[in-house]
């Protein structure tokens, strides 16, 4: 494998990019709302929260993965521009797709646009409408994130990929099955405090172990639900932001993206996500921070094992040791490293394209101390981790309150 090329020469020439508005819909089953309606709802909340007008927006970046395969609707960027009422200004609009990380990818693109000076103020959103897909096709749509020809065709699914990773992880590190179950337990504990969450019940380790098997050893409670939802943020330059607001400004200190081989079988090792290691290494360098500086982390726990491995790949724990620390209480709101204060993908929900932006929306609320019952005490730096497929790509954002 090539060594990480952490070339950040351009960092010094970048403009300071900040978030001045954030908003999202509830994540859950929205039978009565269409994809367009969800996108508009989230977008309007973010615009209102920012205190700007639609004419102030220079471009739209929309993250969405499955509209094409589930409802045969493409050209999503244009669609969102249309229904948010902005197409009338011929606004530049584009859909960004990176599987489950589509939203975070849209944010990365929006960040690059503002940082480089191409645009000043952009609306970044993510939206997904999974309940429009017939139940029997959902697994197949999601299998679009793994290698369709050589993994899905032969019978693999994203859950099966996660399960094979879990089994190999337990084999290589002699890890306990219970350790992996901590992730959904923690996510549910925090999700129960989040009014935006899909699931508000709490669960125990035994519940995870005894739940219906999806792909052995993973059960239903190891897997994020099928959710609808939308989330959005408004990005602008620090200069602009200071003119508009006095508080509630959150700076994007790092926005990084890294890829890996799409299929598990092409990788040298499947118990680590190289894309997460690379993206986070670049992010820490960009932000001039270390893992110990992070106040809380929003992990991509589409599957429990993904969250667990991410904790190690993000540098919080050494390989094979995440379980030990989770057992000791890490992850709770009042611990040294709160995990998924939003409820994570497992409890808050996982409307694919909306997820990554949703993690950032949560981080903004947390950093502004607007997170109510699930507030992390005195947070300074937030790290969000979004992934596509089984680690095919990872996108990291590090945020700080200004």
């Amino acid at each position: 494998m090539q060594n990480s090329r952490v070339k950040l020469r351009w960092v010094s020439k970048m403009r300071d990019v900040v978030i001045i508005g954030a908003g999202q819909t509830k994540f859950g089953e929205h039978w009565e709302k269409s994809l367009r309606e969800l996108a508009v709802e989230a977008g309007l909340r973010a615009i209102e929260d920012a205190g700007i007008y639609s004419k102030d927006i220079d471009a739209i970046y929309g993250g969405n993965m499955s509209a094409g395969s589930s409802t045969f609707q493409d050209n999503i960027g244009t669609l969102i521009a249309d229904f948010t009422g902005l197409a009338i200004n011929n606004i530049p609009a584009i859909r960004v797709e990176n599987g489950s990380a589509s939203g975070a990818a849209a944010l990365h693109e929006g960040f690059i646009a503002v940082a480089s000076g191409i645009y000043d103020t952009v609306l970044v959103g993510g939206v997904e409408k999974l309940t429009d897909v017939p139940m029997e096709n959902i697994t197949d749509v999601i299998s679009g994130e793994i290698d369709r020809e050589w993994e899905a065709f032969n019978g693999s699914t994203l859950a099966a990929s996660a399960a094979m990773i879990a089994r190999r992880y337990m084999y290589e590190y002699n890890a306990k099955r219970e350790h992996i179950a901590y992730i959904p337990v923690i996510s549910h504990r925090h999700g129960s405090l989040n009014p935006y969450a899909h699931y508000k019940n709490t669960i125990k380790i035994e519940d995870v172990l005894n739940s219906t098997i999806v792909a052995d050893p993973l059960t239903m409670l190891d897997c994020a639900p099928i959710s609808d939802g939308a989330s959005a943020v408004i990005l602008t330059t620090m200069e602009n932001a200071k003119k508009l607001k006095n508080d509630g400004i959150v700076r994007i200190k790092a926005s990084t993206l890294a890829s890996d081989f799409i299929s598990l079988h092409s990788r040298d090792n499947i118990t680590s996500f190289r894309s997460t290691i690379e993206a986070s290494r670049k992010a820490y360098k960009m932000a001039k921070l270390e893992p110990k500086d992070i106040s809380f982390v929003e992990l991509h726990d589409a599957y429990s094992i993904f969250g667990m491995i991410a904790l190690e790949d993000l540098g919080f724990f050494r390989k094979g040791e995440a379980g030990k620390y989770l057992e000791e209480g890490y992850g709770n709101l009042d611990s040294k490293l709160p995990i998924n204060p939003s409820g994570g993908l497992k409890a808050k929900g996982h409307p694919l394209g909306a997820t990554g932006v949703g993690q950032v929306v949560e981080s903004v609320f947390q950093l502004r101390k607007q997170a109510d019952k699930r507030q992390v005490s005195d947070p300074r730096y937030a790290l969000t981790h979004s992934m596509s497929g089984a680690g095919g790509s990872s996108i990291i954002h590090i945020l700080e309150v200004v």
């Binding site: 050589w150 065709f153 859950a159 094979m164 052995d216 050893p217 299929s263 499947i270």
Partner: protein, 132 residues
């Protein structure tokens, strides 16, 4: 899967024909046109390579999801097999029960039906693995 999309992969799906990089000697399956390690040196030079059909199980799972194509086989065993020639391949393990499967177990590739387009459509064959 449409006919041309499936047909062009026959020799890969039927006979485990991959590619070998003449520079570094690594074998790839599925076949690659560019070696991820040697890049330009490998372009246009990758050689066809027929893999030996034996390998060992690298990881596996038992799938309980409702996948329409594999309804009669549920629950079925999905595995990543590390082939003796080097590359790892994702495929089902058949003619075995989940309790028998262990990481490191030797298996060999066999020719099986993977799925069919429809009762009137073409049959898509490919590789699966059985314990040796």
């Amino acid at each position: 899967m449409t006919i041309p999309r499936f047909w062009r992969e026959f020799e890969h799906r039927y006979r485990l024909i991959g590619t070998k990089c003449p520079s570094c000697g690594r074998v790839y399956f599925p076949p690659r046109d560019v070696c991820p390690y040697c890049h330009r040196e490998s372009v246009g030079k990758m050689q066809k390579y027929e893999l030996k059909n034996t390998g060992k199980i690298y990881s596996f799972t038992v799938v309980y999801q409702d996948i329409p194509d594999f309804k009669e086989l549920k629950p079925y065993i999905m595995a990543i097999v590390e082939m003796d020639d080097g590359p790892k391949i994702t495929g089902q393990i058949v003619d075995a029960s989940p309790e028998e499967i262990k990481i490191g177990m030797p298996v060999k590739a066999v020719f099986r039906r993977i799925r069919e387009e429809s009762p009137s459509g073409i049959i898509e064959y490919g590789y699966k693995f059985v314990p040796i």
